[in-house]
């Protein structure tokens, strides 16, 4: 457990409703200094509302929110000097060029590193002389990203920052975030693009309907989840009654070998491999769960309908 002073963000029991609609229903979120924290959830789960409360844009109905140890509603201005924010979709000032928008946003965020600004414009392949209303969605998003990433903020709050970016730019984005992390920047990355979170995040929190479903490192989360096993053995393995094993399916291939697929808990892998070895392993693959599996599992309670990508 890290010391409290290392929690840049500490949210517990957060509640917020808009009229009759409940957006947040007891949400918890802790982000430690220096980590990239993935904040996952389907559309409408409450990610943006959480971020807006965290930034003091909206007032919470209940629960506690601490940002850098302070109250984001009361001390918004002081706290904001230490962070930069990228919203999911911002319509830039229509009459201004992309370059002018970057300068205005970056100046609002705080101290700008001119060298880094030029480098980011180059790396994101952005034409700064185009008027912002003539930009595509992806290019608008690049403007917001460059403006935030060019500052030396301690905390980057990114709300679905890569929507509209092509795979090449997505790759550039991931590189830049990794560089910033090595320099000690903390990142809260809200997303529903699981590959991106898997590639970047040290820890993730998965939320559903305004509540935190699970939180931890990817390794932690995987430890509680089944790996997929696929094996071909010479003889039929003795798997009946083995604990920690599920979804067992066996068949016979044309050479008379046994084809086995199963889902196995992390603690039961050794026993399973032992049993397969007894039966004479021909081929064996053990696939750890992807974040998609974790995510879908977190939503299994909803019959899978809430799991949106």
């Amino acid at each position: 457990m890290t010391a409290p002073s290392d929690h840049l963000i500490e949210i517990s029991g957060l509640r917020k409703s808009f009229g009759a609609a409940t957006a947040l229903d007891g949400l918890d979120l802790v982000v430690d200094r220096g980590e990239v924290h993935g904040f996952l959830g389907p559309n409408g789960a409450g990610k943006s509302t959480t971020i807006r409360i965290l930034l003091g844009l909206m007032r919470a109905d209940g629960g506690t929110v601490r940002l850098f140890g302070g109250d984001p509603w009361a001390e918004a201005v002081e706290l904001h000097s230490r962070l930069a924010y990228v919203p999911g979709d911002v319509t830039l000032w229509p009459g201004l060029s992309g370059g002018q928008c970057i300068d205005i946003l970056a100046r609002a965020h705080g101290r700008v590193d001119e060298g880094r600004r030029a480098e980011l414009v180059e790396r994101f392949d952005l034409d700064p002389t185009k008027r912002s209303r003539d930009y595509s969605k992806g290019n608008r998003q690049k403007v917001s990203l460059v403006a935030a990433l060019a500052t030396d903020a301690e905390l980057l709050v990114l709300d679905e920052p890569t929507s509209g970016l092509d795979p090449l730019m997505e790759e550039v984005f991931q590189q830049v975030v990794r560089e910033r992390r090595e320099q000690g920047t903390t990142v809260l990355l809200s997303s529903h693009i699981l590959g991106e979170v898997e590639a970047l995040a040290d820890r993730v929190s998965i939320i559903r309907a305004g509540r935190t479903v699970t939180t931890g490192t990817l390794t932690d989360l995987r430890r509680h989840t089944h790996s997929a096993v696929r094996a071909v053995t010479e003889r039929t393995p003795a798997l009946a009654g083995m604990p920690g094993l599920g979804d067992v399916e066996t068949g016979t291939d044309e050479q008379g070998r046994t084809d086995v697929t199963a889902a196995v808990e992390p603690d039961a892998v050794a026993d399973l491999v032992g049993a397969l070895h007894e039966a004479g392993i021909h081929t064996l693959t053990v696939t750890p769960p992807s974040l998609d599996d974790l995510f879908l599992r977190a939503y299994a309670g909803d019959g899978g309908t809430a799991a949106a990508r």
């Binding site: 807006r52 000097s81 919203p87 830039l92 970057i102 965020h109 002389t129």
Partner: protein, 536 residues
């Protein structure tokens, strides 16, 4: 004609998404005519009184404002004259609003692209927009004509008048349809439409006052030339706007074929890659966003007021030529002085009320821009920086106040200077500018109202415009219609006095309006400080 496939469904969409604003415009304009009719028919309840209308001050002197309306000795003619100013701007603005709504605005939002990818021909969206808007204009025109009937206006004359009104709308509908092809953004379409409305109105005003053929150069003039209620009433001038409407629509269709979806015929220029130091400050950014609007409104106000002012001598001459008034005022230089005091000062006060209406419209548009900052997420990003909400709103309001002062000052200077030049009497400049300053608190009240709504009821911005529309109609028509005095006092543009140029502003009114305006502003700040951002 595969380019027109899908006109029916497109018109259905236009009606489905736009019926509220369509109905609001039509009912609003008809309601103003009903209000005018009920008051005028009560005021002029005998043929003798109606016959006397032309002899009163309202007749000749306001020709520059209302046009040369025929048949002022009939009730219909009186109604048409009283409705003249509302018609001059209300109908073209309605045409611009309805046409942009379903052409360039849809295209800019990307919705048109979605529909054109379906079984919808290239010209169908334009065709549908024009179809719906044209039908709305004709219905509104006929509705305005019909609204005159219960008060006893001549039926044939009412129909002629209604169709002439519709014709004015059709012309500006065509103008907007063409502009929507040429320029790429809704704002620019509005700019072109409003500028041409102003030019047409001014040309008619000069032509009408001097009674020359110049009126034929203006679509506004064509309404008068039908002479709906005059002895020489005629139908054929109605063909002129209809022919121009058809020609403009044909032009718009051809232009539509020569450009890509989403683009205009004029290509956007490249912009500067870096923001200047000034632009990076909140105040600099606020000014950058408002400067085009300030320049446009100031230019429009200056043109309108300069033309009105330059007609001052002709207004005095017209009054002196009036047999009824000329005898009353006597002859010689003293008579001119008396005419100026009696007629010109109230006229100038009325022009200044119009100017205040222009400043207020600018201010309310500016408050609407605050809401767009919020809807576009830009407010969110700016507030996520080290900037308080007051620190965001303050500079923007400062720019709006500055803009309103610029529009008001430029307009008052143009009116005062041109009147002083025309009358060869420099004292008018000071009198007019002084009285113009007294209208600023009324503008402040509406700024305060808009900001208070932004702070507390951000979704209800339309209330500000509704209050403005009511106040504008009362301020313009109220004094002539003999409405109760307390109601006129409650109209911010009349609170400081009915004839501010002649009688000077009432200090109590100035104080009340200023305090009210500032109070509303403070309330707006307080509301923004405590509310969620964004409220969608």
């Amino acid at each position: 004609m595969s380019a027109m496939v899908g006109v029916g469904p497109m018109a259905g969409i236009a009606l489905r998404t736009g019926w509220r604003s369509l109905l609001a415009w039509a009912l609003g304009l008809v309601a103003v005519m009903v209000l005018t009719g009920s008051s005028i028919s009560a005021l002029y309840d005998t043929p003798e009184k109606i016959a006397g209308y032309a002899e009163t001050l309202g007749g000749d002197a306001l020709t520059a404002v209302n046009g040369r309306v025929a048949g002022l000795d009939t009730l219909g003619g009186v109604l048409a004259n009283e409705f003249g100013f509302v018609l001059s701007f209300g109908v073209p603005v309605m045409a611009i609003a309805l046409t942009t709504r379903h052409t360039r605005r849809e295209e800019e939002a990307g919705r048109l692209e979605l529909l054109l990818a379906a079984r919808v021909g290239r010209r169908a969206p334009l065709g549908a927009a024009v179809l719906v808007a044209s039908a709305a204009m004709v219905v509104t025109g006929v509705g305005i004509g019909a609204a005159m009937l219960p008060f006893g206006a001549d039926p044939a004359g009412s129909l002629r008048y209604g169709l002439a009104v519709a014709g004015l709308g059709l012309v500006f509908l065509g103008v907007t349809a063409v502009a929507a092809q040429v320029v790429e953004h809704t704002r620019a379409v509005w700019g072109v439409g409003l500028a041409l409305t102003l030019v047409s109105y001014l040309v008619r005003g000069v032509g009408a006052l001097r009674d020359t053929a110049l009126v034929w150069a203006s679509p506004h003039g064509w309404v008068d030339e039908v002479q709906a209620f005059g002895v020489d009433a005629r139908w054929w001038p109605l063909a002129v706007p209809v022919a121009l409407w058809a020609g403009l629509l044909a032009l718009a269709s051809v232009l539509r074929d020569r450009r890509d979806v989403g683009a205009g015929l004029l290509r956007p220029r490249r912009a500067r890659p870096r923001a200047s130091a000034a632009l990076r400050t909140p105040l600099g950014l606020a000014w950058h966003q408002q400067r085009t609007a300030v320049a446009g409104w100031a230019l429009g106000a200056a043109a309108l007021m300069a033309v009105f002012g330059s007609l001052a001598q002709e207004i005095v001459d017209a009054v002196l030529d009036n047999p009824a008034l000329g005898g009353f005022l006597g002859a010689g230089p003293e008579a001119e002085g008396r005419a100026a005091d009696l007629v010109l000062a109230p006229m100038m006060s009325t022009f200044l009320v119009m100017l205040a209406l222009l400043s207020t419209a600018y201010v309310l548009l500016g408050v609407g821009a605050l809401r767009r900052e919020e809807e576009s997420s830009r407010l969110e990003v700016e507030l996520s920086a080290s900037r308080s909400r007051a620190g965001w709103l303050g500079p923007r309001l400062l720019v709006l106040v500055l803009g309103a002062v610029v529009v008001g000052a430029v307009g008052a200077l143009a009116l005062g200077a041109s009147a002083a030049a025309a009358l060869e009497d420099g004292s008018w400049l000071g009198d007019v500018v002084g009285a113009g300053t007294a209208q600023l608190p009324a503008v402040l009240v509406f700024l305060g109202l808009g900001v208070a709504l932004f702070g507390w009821l951000p979704r209800a911005q339309a209330l500000g415009w509704a209050a403005f529309a009511v106040a504008a109609v009362l301020a313009y028509l109220g004094p002539g219609l003999d409405l109760p005095s307390w109601l006129l006092d409650l109209t911010p543009f009349l609170t400081v006095g009915r004839d501010v140029v002649g009688e000077g502003p009432q200090p109590a009114g100035l104080v009340v309006l200023t305090v009210l305006g500032l109070g509303l502003l403070v309330a707006g700040f307080a509301g923004l400080r405590r509310r969620d951002v964004p409220v969608s």
